[in-house]
């Protein structure tokens, strides 16, 4: 062939359509995690779309999030204080996770395991604060999945359902991190390499990213 053009010139098509692997050198677990996350994205997208729909269809006023989620600090109500801290913690945990991945690939399994444990602890504290937030909403504000004193019942139902589903993801992630961290520490991956740290990290970053969307759609809107 004289002049190969476009995609062919970059060998993208040839590489992807080649034998054995589409994504060269990508471990099975990593490919599978990416595909799973794509599927999970659709779950959260459906949840958030459903939330937006019922927020439009409900006939009662939507409670003001900055008031509902305000926290009393030094005698003044600060809007979204707790949520800001929670978000900060979760995003910090993504940072420690990235450092753990780095340490893993450098085969420094002590620091890798330690950073993963820190990530898990940050995640656990996020879930703890979420429990605090839920308790406050239920006990003090009287929000229930089927209704609340401030307005549309869908406020409570979507809130508990979506943050609950996300909280389950974080909790599962904490367990996942703890198990992998323990195995890294024990040296179980010395032979096969430390891709598993990155795979765990993919899941963790995904959970963080989803939180950013929940934060934006639920608390800021």
């Amino acid at each position: 062939m004289a002049e190969a053009t476009g995609l062919r010139n970059l060998q993208v098509v040839d590489d992807w359509a080649a034998d054995v692997e589409v994504f060269r050198g990508v471990p099975w677990g990593k490919a599978m995690m990416w595909i799973f996350l794509l599927s999970d994205t659709f779950i959260f997208t459906c949840f958030l779309t459903a939330y937006m729909t019922v927020r439009m269809t409900t006939s009662e006023p939507w409670p003001n999030p900055s008031e509902v989620f305000a926290l009393e600090a030094f005698g003044v109500p600060v809007p979204l204080l707790l949520i800001a801290i929670m978000t900060f913690i979760l995003i910090t945990s993504s940072g420690t996770m990235a450092m753990a991945v780095n340490m893993g690939y450098r085969r420094r399994r002590g620091p890798a395991a330690l950073l993963m444990v820190i990530t898990a602890l940050l995640g656990a504290s996020f879930v703890g604060m979420q429990a605090f937030e839920w308790t406050k909403l239920i006990m003090d504000e009287g929000v229930r999945p089927w209704g609340n004193p401030m307005g549309a019942p869908q406020f409570g139902s979507t809130f508990f359902m979506i943050t609950g589903f996300h909280g389950l993801h974080v909790s599962a992630g904490v367990v996942y991190l703890a198990v992998v961290a323990w195995r890294v520490w024990r040296g179980r991956y010395e032979k096969q390499g430390y891709d598993i740290v990155e795979i765990t990290g993919l899941y963790w970053h995904f959970v963080d990213l989803v939180w950013v969307f929940i934060f934006a759609f639920f608390y800021l809107w």
């Binding site: 692997e21 599927s39 659709f42 269809t57």
Partner: protein
Amino acid sequence: MAVEAQVPYQEAIEVHHPHSWITKYWFSQDHKVIAIQYGITAIGVGLVALALSALMRLQLGFPDTFDFIDPEAYYQFITMHGMIMVIYLLTALLLGGFGNYLIPLMCGARDMVFPFVNMISYHVYFLSVIVLLASYFVPGGPTGAGWTLYPPQAILEGTPGVDWGILTMLGSLAIFIVAFTMGGLNYVTTILQARTRGMTLMRMPLSVWGIFMATVLGLLAFPALFVSAIMMLLDKTIGTSFFMPAISSIGETLDYSGGSPLLFQHLFWFFGHPEVYIVALPAFGIVSDLISTHARKNIFGYRMMVWAIVAIGVLSFIVWAHHMYVSGMHPWFGFFFATTTLIIAVPTAIKVYNWTLTLWRANIHLTVPMLFAIAFVITFVMGGITGLFLGNVIVDVPLSDTYFVVAHFHMVMGVAPILVIFGAIYHWYPKMTGKMLNDTLGHIHFWVTFLGTYIIYYPMHYLGFVGVPRRYFANGDMAIIDSSVEMLNQTITVAALIVGIFQAVFIWNLIYSYFRGKDSGHNPWKATTLEWQTPETPPRHGNWEDKKLPTVHRWAYDYSVPGEEDDFVPQTAPQTGSQPAT
């Protein structure tokens, strides 16, 4: 710059060989055993759904004759029949069964990439079937909301099974989706990352392409069903109002307010329409391989076939609201969705033309699998053409919720994929067991099933045109119902019972041939694809020789190549200098 050749990772690994009976046949990690487990469970539950359809037909053909069929029971039959057939039979059998069996063998892999997860997938599926069938043993029986489970009626008093049946149904669906996800991730990853040396994407048999695309659709579409199942469970159990508007039921105002029933329909059909193609695409792929093999001719337009599968998959995500023309959504939506729906006809027509052109002047062997394959093409065209009617808003509105719709979807996604499944079983049974299925029994089974389904579904188009509504327990003395309807309904019922009973011939054939069938040898159909080149039949755990996976040198369709000694060249045969590489 040359890239270095890749070595299949599975080549080197040792397969763990099970020793005890339990790990070999029940908790097996061998994809072939899991496939057969999926297959047997799916066929078993499918027979339940077949029996339910017979009961429905008895009522429709001979109303006021059977005391044990009351309207409640009838609605429960409808719901369970639909849900079982679509999800627990077709999806599970095509992806869990054929997907599991064919993917590793056709790609030249030892097994799925994560055999343990694959094993769990089957057992979770089994659990979902148990929960579903438990519906018949809970107070009030299964839900009678129709397979679409539309709220508000699905969770309101007056619908059968409102106390427990709807819970087991939604729970079972959620469990099924978990099972499917575990299996589906395995299928996709195996196809993408674990093919053998020389098996490029454009050399894969179309069966693998169809199963691949269908699995991708499943992984992206089932989330919508999962989410709607969770929300409806919450609406039912703790009284949230996701799908429930302010409503009064039997004179009593309920505590619901502000929810959106339309939201459920959108979520359901965002799953439900791709689901049609989750069932159809594997059938498309498999039928392409059956036709090419039994016509001893390469598939016409292989690349076009692949891209048609991909295009149908993509398009299937933007047509869902054509199920909702009469739901009260904005007419502009109807315009958009009608357009996208009709566009799907282009890639599907390409496929039908290519099947026909593969048969054109081919050396057609009218084996039982081939008969089923040809029957599929005819039936699919029939069902597809009525789809063009229903895809247009203005034609759909009067035909909505009539027997025309019943006829359409049974033709296109009921009978057509089932015909492929039968053909595929007749085709691959020799590989699974080492025995041929009995030919005579196969012919009897084919002709009764094929002709019978036409006697059943053809008149339903007419019933739809004269306005017989679907899902009605009895038509009574409605003035709009023509007098010919009664006789037709009786004919359909008789035909349905005969076809149903004759499936026993097929089941008997499966059992009889396993013990008394003729030995098949390794490659009875003289096929090119990898699963027929295994060293043993049935292939052992690990499929191929130790430490050595097959090497693929050509595409899957080298039939009747001029100058070759045999009329087929296996994919493992090296290219001789004169041929162009594919």
